[in-house]
Structure formats: C-alpha cells, structure tokens
C-alpha cells in the first residue's frame, strides 16, 4: 500500500520567527545558493562518476570485499535525458527517509565497508549539476519507493527542506531481478545538454571511467555507457624479477577509529607508445578503489619542491619509466586522504603525511636506477648499441601489478663494470703555438706530423708530472 506525501526528515530546524525576537538574525541559506555552491566545485564527468561510485558502494554493501561479478550499472546519456540504472541492492525506504536525500552525511548513517561515498552529497550534487527534474526509483528485496522532484518548484519554497515519496511500499517482497535503483534526470541544464550532445563526450567519459573506476570494474562490476561496456585497464609494471616493483603495506589503527591500510607499489613501467610515456609516469593514488591522483609528478607525491634540497629530484624525462601506486582503504572513508570532491588529495591528512615518507623511500632506489640508466645511455659510443640496463628494461614485460611477485625494496641490478681492455674514452685537444717553436720541437722529437708533436709532448708531460 502506497502512502503519499510523507515528508522526509528535515535537515534544518525551522527558521526563527522574526516577529518574536528582534535579536535573532536570519542566517538560513537559500536553496539556490545551496544548489549553486554544491555544484560549483565539481566538473560534470566527476559528478557522473560519483553516481557510479554510489552504485559500486551498493554492490560492495551486498558483496563485501570480494568479486563484484553480476553487478551492472547502465548509463543512458542523450541530449535530453540522463539515466543511470543499477542492480546493486537498492536503497531502502528507511535509508531514503533518513539519509540518502539529506544534504551532508547524518552522523548515525550506516557506513558501507570500503565505500567511496562519504560526505553524503554525491547523488544530490550530481543531480543538481545535470538537470532540474529528477526521478529516483529504488527497489530492495523488502521495499520500494519513487521520489519525483521538480527542482525549480522545490527551490521556490525556501523553508521546505523535505522531499516527498511519490510512491512507497514497505514490508513487501520483490524478486531479485527487480532490485536496484534508477535515477532519471530530465530538464537538463542547457550547457549540460550541449555537452551530452557532443560526439566526443562519450569517449571522454569512458576514458575517465576506465581509470577512475578501474578497481570496481576489474573486480567484475559491469558499467555500460549507451549500451557499450567500459573496460578497465589494470595498472601494469615491469615484471622481470630483477626489476620487480617494491611493495609495502602499512596499517594504521586507532582506538575507536576504523583501520586504514595503505598498500604501496613502486617500480618501472613501460607505455604502449612513446607519446604516452611521460603522461603515464608518476604516482597513482587510490582511495577505496577510486583513482584520486593519476600519474602525479608533483611535490604532492614527493617529487622535488624547490631547486636546492629535497630527496627526490624534480620530474625529468629520464623518470618516464617510474610507476608508483598507493592504494588507501578503510571502512571509514572519512579517514582517507581525499578532498570532498574526491578529485584530489588532502595532503594535510595525518595518514598521508606518514605514508608519503614511505612512498619517497620506496621511490628512491627506482630514481637511482633511472639515473644510472640515463648515465649508461649517455656514456655509450654507438647510439645503436644498447647497454645492459637498457637491454633489461626493454626486454622486460609489463604485467598487471597484482600478478607480479613483489619484494620489500626495489633493488636494481648493478651493471658489470666495462671490461678493462676496452679503449679509454678519448678527448681531442686543439691548440696553436708559435710556428718556429713547433718546428723546433718536431725536429727534436724526430716525428713527421704535427699530430705526433702534440701527442708526444702531451705524453712527455703526462709521464713526467702526472703519472705515478
């Protein structure tokens, strides 16, 4: 039986009645300000990915940490509507009433292990970012509801901080096939409609999803955009045992706080094409499976800040092979070092400050190795010839990081010193001297060429004054 117009919990108390007490000042936010602030700090694609994260969190709630096989998130995007449909467990009426539509996370809200959703703004923010009319329908095995909102009409009622169920069933049974959530957004913002209409948009979205969602997708979650699945691209590193990446796991427990683990990998990688080499180098930081920082080469991950004094040098082309991955995971997403839009790191996070030291330590032997590789390349006489390190790097195969045998520290092979009988490096000298003196020396040396004059006089001085 569906009851209509049941108000959901109000996030704000009633504003004060000005007539009663003139000392009270009205600080109630307007809804437009709210909507504007909420959406300003996030770009369109991350907002959409937030919605997929919500679905992935739903799947994790059902399945825990393991495989996400069988879960599906379908996005349908056209220039007049946006729809996301999933079979990831659905939202209960209880959750919808108390938490899912609240702006901000209520303190009593149940947490999902290793979830991405944390601040309680993702769904609303994404909806407001995209359009002005939305319909959320969600079915769990015991309940079902529909919320249908015209945002313009809602915004015009400044004091009403509630939405209403359009349909609501509780204590009903639903078949497994019907469980899931569908969010339909229409009345798209004109600029969003324009973007959705672009040929290139789908490709861009797909690319971003491929990297940002690689963890859930590689665990089996199927995400499709307009019917075509997004494939995950697992991170790879060179797997040769002599070049295998270093791995270290750090665990932070606190009394009364959920554990945070950081798994760090640092080694070498090789891109498919030369043009991507630089783009792919650096550190990748994940928080609960979400890629927060991609191929970072900045001080945030320990690269040089100033010219004079830090351990890791600034990024240069010679470090194009460096690959680092940091996976942060926690049952309590608030302890992870990400910012509210999940698009960047919170470098002040106590955990990140500590882990960064470890990232820098793992990275240093890799940097040293790449410096040596550069020296080797510069020292070779024949540009076609490959030194032992270069040979090793180029023959090693990239493999998904999870399937490589790691080691506690990246200990690069030390190249054998060049054989002793090899010709020493030569340095030409050019100089002029008074002709009569040169002829005089030539006569004393009993040689035929000026080249020999130079060589013999140099040798004479070297033997007499330098050589021991």
């Amino acid at each position: 039986m569906a009851k209509r117009h049941t108000p959901m919990k109000e996030p704000f108390a009633d504003p004060p009645d000005e007539g009663q007490d003139s000392l009270v000042i009205d600080a109630m936010p307007t809804k437009e300000l709210f909507i504007e602030m909420l959406t300003r700090d996030i770009a369109l694609i991350p907002a959409i990915i937030d919605l997929v994260d919500n679905s992935a969190d739903g799947a994790k709630r059902v399945k825990g940490e393991g495989s996400l096989k069988g879960f599906l998130v379908r996005l349908t995007i056209t220039s007049d509507q946006f729809k996301i449909t999933d079979n990831c467990g659905g939202i209960t009426v209880e959750t919808a009433r108390k938490y899912a539509f609240r702006f901000g996370r209520a303190s009593g809200a149940p947490s999902v292990k290793h979830s991405v959703g944390q601040f309680g703004v993702g769904m609303k923010r994404a909806i407001f970012k995209i359009g002005r009319q939305f319909r959320v329908e969600s079915t769990t095995d015991t309940s079902r509801f529909v919320v249908d909102v015209d945002v313009n009409a809602w915004a015009e009622q400044p004091k009403k901080w509630t939405f209403e169920f359009a349909e609501r069933d509780e204590d009903t049974t639903h078949s497994k096939d019907s469980v899931g959530t569908e969010i339909l957004i229409t009345a798209l913002h004109p600029d969003v409609a324009d973007v959705f209409g672009l040929e290139s948009f789908e490709g861009e979205l797909r690319n971003d999803m491929r990297t940002r969602l690689q963890d859930p997708i590689s665990r089996g979650l199927v995400v499709t955009v307009n019917g075509v699945p997004v494939d995950a691209e697992p991170m790879t590193m060179l797997s040769d045992p002599r070049l295998a990446p270093a791995y270290r796991k750090l665990t932070y427990n606190g009394t009364g706080a959920k554990t945070v683990t950081a798994k760090l990998y640092c080694g070498l990688g090789r891109s498919e094409s030369r043009s991507e080499e630089r783009a792919e180098a650096g550190w990748n930081v994940f928080c609960n499976g979400r890629l927060i920082l991609e191929a970072d080469k900045s001080p945030v991950t320990g690269w040089k800040e100033e010219v004079d004094s830090v351990s890791i040098p600034g990024f240069h082309g010679q470090y194009n092979y460096l690959r680092g991955i940091a996976y942060f995971d926690s049952d309590d997403p608030a302890r992870l070092p990400w910012n509210t839009t999940k698009t960047g790191l919170n470098t002040d996070s106590p955990i990140y400050r500590a882990v960064k030291l470890e990232m820098m330590r793992l990275m240093r032997p890799v940097v040293d190795f790449l410096n040596r590789l550069k020296e080797e390349r510069q020292a070779k006489d024949d540009p076609g010839e490959k030194g032992p390190l270069e040979e090793l790097v180029e023959s090693a195969k990239p493999e998904p990081v999870m399937s490589i045998d790691t080691r506690p520290v990246f200990e690069p092979p030390v190249p054998k010193p060049k054989s002793q009988n090899k010709e020493p490096k030569m340095q030409p000298i050019h100089y002029e001297a008074p002709a009569d003196q040169v002829y005089a020396v030539k006569k004393v040396l009993k040689v035929n060429s000026f080249r020999d004059v130079g060589l013999k006089t140099f040798k004479y001085f070297y033997d007499a004054e330098v050589n021991e």
Binding site: T255, D308, S309, S311, I351, A354, L357, E358, R364, D368
Partner: protein, 319 residues
C-alpha cells in the same frame, strides 16, 4: 677516484674522535633497558679501520653489522680489513644504500660523514628518521668548520652563501653570516639536523596515537677538532613506552650528556705517557678538578680530568 677520508688521515690517531667513539659506546650500552643489545643492528661507515664496528661488537655484543662504503674502487682493500665476519658490506653511497636496507630491527646508526652537511645528507637523515623503529639511536657526524679566513673576502657573507649552497632553504630563519664563526657553523648545523629529524618524526607520527608517537631525545651534542671543527649530534628515537624505560634521567650521570643546544666540547690534553700514568694513580679521586702536580700545566690537568676514562694512549706498537 674519490678520495675518502680514510685515504687522508688515520682514524686511529685522532684522539677526540677516539674518545667520542668510547662515549657513544658507553651511552649506547644503556639501550639494554629497552631491549637486549644483541638484538640490535649497527649501521655505520666503517672505512678501512672499522674502529666503531670493533668497539660496538666487543663492548656491546652487536653481531648484526652493516658497513656502507662508497669507495668501490678500494673494494679489495676494504674487504681485506673487515675485522669480524659479522660485518656485512654494502657498496655504494649512503644515499643509494639506505633506502634498500631492511629496517625491521632496532638499530644504532652512525652517519659519520667526512664531508660537510648538505641536502643529500639531510635526505639520508630524513629517510632514516622516517623508518627507524622506537628504541633506535641515530648519530650524525659532520665537519662543521667555518673555513679559513680569506682577507680578500667578506667572510660572513661567504660562509652564509656556502652554507646556503649546501642546505638551501633548510637554514633556520634569522641566521646570519656572523653566526657562523668559530663553533657557530656547528651550532647552526645541529639546528638544521635536529629540525630535519623532528619534522620527519612529526609527519611519521601524525596518524599515530599519543602513546605511539615517536620523538627524538637528544643524547649527544659534541664539538671537537682533531684537525677541522666537527659536530656530532644524536640521540634516541623513542615512543612513550621506550622513553619511560630509557629517558633523560637515565643519562644524567654522564658528564657529556647533552639533551639541548648546549654542546660538549671534547678537548684533547697534551701529556706524555709518564704523566698520564702519574695522573691516573690519583684519579678519579681528584676528578674533575685535578689540582696537582703544579708542574703539569693546569689546562692539561683539567682537560685530562674530564676525559681520562676515554683518553687513548698511543704507543708505537698497535695492540
């Protein structure tokens, strides 16, 4: 070929260095309040003399020892001089070797540099502070000589720019060239080193609970000059529990214990072996203010009274 300091001086004949080593050893023996010393690891730069390694193996019983040697051209010579089989060599510059060492054991590490402090050495210090476990000891020795006076140069300016070129932004604010005269260079270097250790420990401890946070407790702040002015600064890296078993109060009896900015100057008395034997018979009864005999200059008597337990007596035959 890089000239290591072992190719320039014989370490055995540097009396202040010799005394410093014995003072370290005496102090570090107290680490047994935290854990048996046999469970510790020693990491140092043994060069060809391995004096620190010998002492710490003989006196402290440490068996897990690692010597870092950058002079790879002298591999054979260095290897020939390894005094005990428990000493493992790691070839390469400390900057390259330190990140690759295992750091699971409590460690005593002495970064005994023969070149002045620079950013690369600070990176070593940061790295080690970032990984040493509680109950470990870190000592850093660097030459800290203000340099010879050049009449044609503005020395204050020259000293400051020289230091800046080595450590960059790590110079504490407010330090001027005039602060770097005499032992001033050592004083400033100590501030830079301690700041680096504490900064790293703060970052590392940020996510830890109060009881697990790691702090630097300084034990040593030595100034000495066998030739050039040297600084040795170091102490323990401890959490609250280890600090309770081994805190400042457990070192108060040591005359050279220096937990703060005030240095301890290791001075070498100039005495003959006969004089040393004569004075020894009257020590420690007279110490530290050795008033007799008057025919030995007062300054030498007083110096000896302070350091007699550590003072090396050299004779022609090496024992």
């Amino acid at each position: 070929m890089k000239a290591s300091s072992f190719e320039k001086f014989d370490y055995a004949l540097r009396p202040a260095k010799n005394m410093e080593r014995k003072m370290f050893c005496e102090t570090l023996g107290r680490l047994s309040r935290v854990a048996p010393l046999s469970s510790y690891r020693y990491v140092g730069f043994g060069a060809i003399g391995f004096h620190d390694f010998c002492l710490f193996h003989q006196r402290l019983g440490i068996r897990d020892m690692c010597s870092i040697e950058e002079n790879t051209d002298a591999k054979k010579r260095v290897s020939f001089n390894i005094p005990y089989s428990c000493i493992k060599m790691r070839w390469g510059e400390s900057h390259d070797v330190l990140p690759t060492l295992p750091w699971t054991k409590r460690t005593i590490i002495w970064l005994d540099y023969d070149k002045p402090l620079n950013s690369r050495k600070l990176e070593d210090i940061a790295l080690v502070s970032g990984i040493l476990r509680s109950g470990s000891a870190l000592i850093v020795t660097v030459p800290a000589d203000p340099g010879e006076v050049d009449a044609n140069a503005d020395m204050a300016e020259k000293r400051l720019s020289d230091l800046r070129s080595r450590v960059g932004k790590n110079i504490p604010t407010g330090v001027t060239g005039k602060d770097l005269v005499q032992w001033g260079m050592a004083t400033v270097c100590r501030r830079i080193i301690v700041d680096q250790i504490e900064k790293t420990l703060n970052d590392r401890s940020a996510p830890l609970e109060e009881g697990k946070k790691l702090r630097y407790n300084q034990l040593f702040n030595f100034h000495y000059a066998d030739r050039t002015k040297m600084l040795s600064v170091g102490g323990l890296i401890v959490n609250a529990r280890d600090k309770a078993s081994l805190g400042p109060k457990h070192f108060k009896d040591l005359d050279y214990f220096r937990p703060e900015a005030e240095p301890y100057l290791i001075e070498t008395p100039i005495l003959t072996l006969r004089e040393i034997r004569y004075l020894d018979e009257r020590l420690p009864r007279l110490a530290p203010d050795v008033r007799h005999p008057k025919w030995i200059p007062e300054i030498e008597r007083k110096r000896y009274g302070k350091v007699y337990r550590y003072f090396p007596s050299f004779s022609e035959v090496e024992t």
